[in-house]
Amino acid sequence: MDPILIAVLVLLAVSLIFGALLGFASIKFKVEGNPIVEQIDSLLPQTQCGQCSYPGCRPYAEAIANGEAINKCPPGGESTIAALADLLDVEALPLDAEHGEEQIKSVAYIREDECIGCTKCIQACPVDAILGAAKQMHTVITSECTGCDLCVEPCPVDCIDMIPIETSLVTWTWAQPQPGVQLIATDRGRNLAIETQRHQHQLEDDRNNKGDAA
């Protein structure tokens, strides 16, 4: 037989086999949905605030997967943009001011004696973090509040405040060091001499006073 014909036949057979294999694999190991959307969604802050002009974080994730700009999420801020840029391998843009500015994290607080129990904020809350019923006082479950702001506008008596989350002993973290100022143990230089002197004088005075009294 002609060697060229044999070669062609063999190649044909091989390509058929691999084609069948690939076809089988594409059906057998088919990935449901768009996996990149999941990854983008997991990077978004899930406040569901809609400041990006999409009705929630997942729709925005889908939009990003379809080429929407990555800088429309004020609650996520620069860190989210950086993470998205890293994931999608695009350039990190500055936050689009049109959609708001990055703000300090806060939670909603209902001034409860002013609440008239209209349930409008309950309907607005995307994560069901407001507790209450019609004509009953409402309150925010602070641990579930994402600080999305959506409950503030609908309130007819303006009794909802967004209160910034204060740093506590538990949530406090070290700041980035200023090189040259801090070292081990002597981490934050302060001149304590004056303060201590004051305290000691006070103590001595107290002792003297007590002695006099006795």
């Binding site: 997991s42 802050p45 070290w174 090189p179 070292l183 934050r188 001499a193």
Partner: protein, 776 residues
């Protein structure tokens, strides 16, 4: 003698332990005030059990654990609780924490307490509870609740109990002193711990710079039934770290992310053991500890037994601090401790050392230079990390890379910073990066939680929508089924005899109307055909004749039927509807007419004539309605008249009036003839007034049994207030922008204000009324 292993890295800083070992252990004087932070341990802060003004006895529990990982707190002396408030606490942040403040009465009166004679007779759980109630948390460093470490679940088999007496940090000698002075206590504590966790062997690790302590412990261990081995390890910082000590004594490394208990090892500090001994054998909770007072600014450095909560300023005064020379106050050692801002900060359960340092002793750090990649930090890291790499990652905020280089394994010992030739504050960078990573992880968890909740809500809304749709569908189905059932029944029942004359009449009416329409259509078709010049005109004509005949027939039948069954007098509602329909028709025609006139369409004349007809009809309908209204018995109706309806009527009248006024204004502005409009407005305003009056009268007539609705008034007032606020905001905004609408807004604001005042007044009145009623 068991073998000693070694760990990677480590440093040998100047020990500086000699200064504080010159004097024997002393007891600090009773301070004027004890400040007891509710969080002196890892886990949740304790919950106060006392209130301000309560008298407490020495050893009385003043705060209980919140949850599992939390610790009891006891009064260190007898006295009065003078405050429960926020005070500066020992924490690197320098922030305030909730504290219980006790003013001692000087009596030192103990609460009734009693030790256990034979702890071996106790159940494990009982013994663990005893330790928990004594408020003991790890006294070496972090302050983890001790009883949790000693009362492990059954699947943890502990083979080695390691007692940490290494105390590797410079300056600190508190554990050294304790081991020298109270070796029996420590051994007693070890016996209790060993009874709880049943290890196969117990090891006490001591550095070779504390020979007296090692001797004392060896002597005391000889008297014990247990086989306790005192292992002397070479002096090297940080061999006192938990994982480093485990490596030193057993050669085992604790895997990443696991606890020593997972590999069968429990490590406890010597001070903790002594505290357990006091708690079990004497019933004394943890209310005092040994603390090293040292530093060049102190005239009498040494170790003192201090009550928990003693302000450091008192200890400084006791040790003779030279306030001129004191430059920096450090809690803990110089390697891992932190600067205190305030000498009023109290000693807590984990405070092993206080250094009052002079400026020469702890000088300001030299300016950090660039990393020269000398690699010293890598050589001294006891965990075997790459400090240089971690430094770059932390500085560049590449936290994921730092994480993959095992930043979280860093024990923050400070050895790398100590040897850094460029004076780079490496540990501070790691602490910063760790904090950021923890925060990111926390945010990630929160985001995940929010996502789950959001999705659950979406699902719920979807489900509710579906349920509603299903319900509607079901209702429609039942209705249609009922209809068919009725239809099925009618033929059988509705034989001519029982025919409802009204229904029959209706049917006839419809038939007549249909016939008329058909006739009209046929007419139209004929006209069309004629203009088009179609041949079959005759056929069409015939059809029209047929239709005419039919229409006449049906009309006749209808008339007959009507004569036979005179329609019952129309009800008031029907009349009303008829009148309204007539009015609407008139309106529509008027509009169409105006339109036609402006456009100059020839059909205007026709429209005008039809309008007149319609007007006449409308007038007739109105008349009929008025008559009927006059006829219907007014008393019953008036009494039943719902206030709500009246209210609606009044408000409708008002709205109409407003609209009319607006159109009038528009017309006046446009310079059109507005006389008729003016008339209309007057009429409407009259109507509105009457409606309002009727409403007011009805309201007045209504017995005030229910009283004014306070809640409604309240919300009305609140809404009014908010409106004012919003308008004010808008006004300010408008003024700022120089908008023309500002004046209008200002006027509106005034109006709103009067309204709000009325609302407030009404609310106040109602409240007063309610009050008087309740008084009555």
């Amino acid at each position: 003698m068991s073998r000693i292993w070694s760990f990677h890295g480590g440093i040998h800083p100047p020990e500086n332990k000699r200064q504080s070992l010159q004097r024997p252990l002393e007891r600090a004087p009773l301070p004027a005030q004890l400040i007891l932070p509710l969080q002196q341990h890892i886990g949740a802060p304790a919950t106060p059990l006392v209130e301000v003004g309560d008298k407490v006895l020495k050893g009385q529990a003043i705060a209980e654990p919140t949850g599992h990982v939390s610790v009891y707190l006891h009064a260190p002396t007898s006295g009065t609780v003078s405050a429960i408030d926020c005070y500066p606490v020992p924490h690197p942040s320098g922030m305030d924490g909730l504290c219980i403040v006790i003013e001692p009465d000087g009596q030192e009166q103990w609460i009734e307490h009693q030790g256990v004679d034979d702890f071996r007779s106790l159940e494990k759980a009982e013994l663990a509870t005893l330790i928990r109630h004594a408020g003991i948390s790890g006294m070496g460093g972090a302050g983890f609740p001790t009883e949790i470490k000693l009362h492990l679940s059954d699947d943890h088999i502990v083979n080695t109990l390691i007692i940490n007496g290494v105390e590797c940090e410079p300056y600190i000698t508190a554990d050294d002193t304790l081991m020298r002075e109270r070796a029996e206590d420590i051994i007693g504590g070890i016996e209790i711990a060993a009874h709880l966790i049943k290890p196969t062997h117990c090891l006490i690790g001591i550095e070779d710079n504390k020979p007296e302590a090692a001797m004392a412990l060896t002597r005391a261990a000889r008297n014990s039934e247990l086989d306790i081995e005192v292992v002397v390890v070479p002096t090297k910082y940080p061999s006192g770290g938990e994982k480093q000590l485990i490596k030193l004594l057993t050669g085992v490394e604790v895997p990443f992310g696991r606890l020593p208990a997972d590999i069968g090892i429990v490590v406890q500090n010597v001070s903790t053991m002594a505290a357990i001994y006091r708690a079990v054998h004497h019933g004394e909770p943890l209310i005092s500890r040994i603390t090293t007072l040292t530093g060049d600014a102190l005239a009498n450095p040494g170790n003192v037994e201090v009550l928990i909560g003693t302000p450091i300023s008192e200890l400084l005064a006791y040790a003779g601090a030279d306030s001129q020379r004191l430059n920096r106050l450090v809690m803990g050692g110089p390697m891992m401790g932190y600067t205190l801002n305030d000498p009023q900060i109290p000693v807590i359960k984990t405070s092993n050392c206080i250094i009052a340092a002079t400026a020469e002793e702890f000088p300001e750090a030299a300016p950090a230079q660039d990393c020269i990649r000398c690699g010293h930090c890598e050589q001294v890291c006891p965990v075997g990390l790459l400090p240089q790499q971690l430094h770059w990652f932390a500085k560049g905020k590449e936290f994921d890379k730092a994480l993959s280089h095992n930043l979280m394994d860093c024990i923050e010992c400070g050895a790398c910073s100590y040897v850094c030739l460029s004076n780079i504050p490496l540990v501070q960078y790691y602490r910063f990066a760790k904090g950021e990573i923890r925060r990111e992880q926390f945010d990630q968890r929160n985001a995940e939680q929010a996502r789950i909740r959001f999705e659950a809500r979406q699902q719920r809304l979807e489900r509710e929508k579906q349920e509603k749709a299903d319900k509607r569908k079901a209702r429609a189905e039942t209705a249609s089924r009922a209809q068919t059932a009725r239809k099925a029944l009618t033929p059988a029942d509705s034989q001519p005899a029982t025919v409802d004359p009204q229904a029959q009449l209706k049917l006839l009416k419809t038939a007549a109307a249909v016939a008329r329409t058909k006739l009209k259509k046929a007419d139209k078709a004929l006209v069309q055909a004629q203009t088009d010049g179609v041949d079959d005109l005759a056929e069409l004509q015939a059809a029209i004749d047929g239709a005419k005949a039919k229409a006449e027939q049906s009309q006749q039948a209808l008339e007959q039927a009507e004569q036979q069954n005179p329609a019952p007098p129309p009800t008031l509602a029907e009349l009303k509807i008829a009148a309204a329909t007539a009015r609407t028709k008139v309106n529509k025609t008027e509009k169409a007419l105006a339109d036609a006139e402006t456009k100059g369409v020839p059909s205007a004349d026709k429209l005008r004539s039809s309008l007149e007809g319609l007007r006449a009809k409308a007038d007739a309908a109105q008349l009929a309605l008025e008559q009927a209204e006059a006829n219907t018995a007014p008393p019953a109706a008036a009494e039943e008249m719902d206030i709500k309806q009246l209210k609606t009527a009044a408000s409708i009248a008002r709205t109409k009036l407003k609209k009319a006024q607006k159109t009038l204004q528009a017309a006046q502005e446009a310079g059109e003839d507005s006389a008729s409009l003016q008339q209309q407005v007057d009429q409407l305003s009259q109507q509105s007034d009457t409606a309002q009056q009727a409403f007011a009268a009805a309201e007045a007539a209504q017995p005030k049994s229910t009283g004014p609705d306070l809640k409604a008034l309240k919300s009305a007032a609140a809404i009014a207030r908010t409106k004012i606020k919003k308008t004010e905001k808008a006004l300010a905004d408008a003024q700022q922008k120089g908008l023309a609408s500002a004046t209008a807004l200002a006027a509106g604001l005034e109006k709103l204000k009067t309204k709000a005042q009325h609302a407030e007044q009404a609310l106040a009145d109602a409240k007063q009324l309610a009050n008087t009623e309740t008084v009555d």
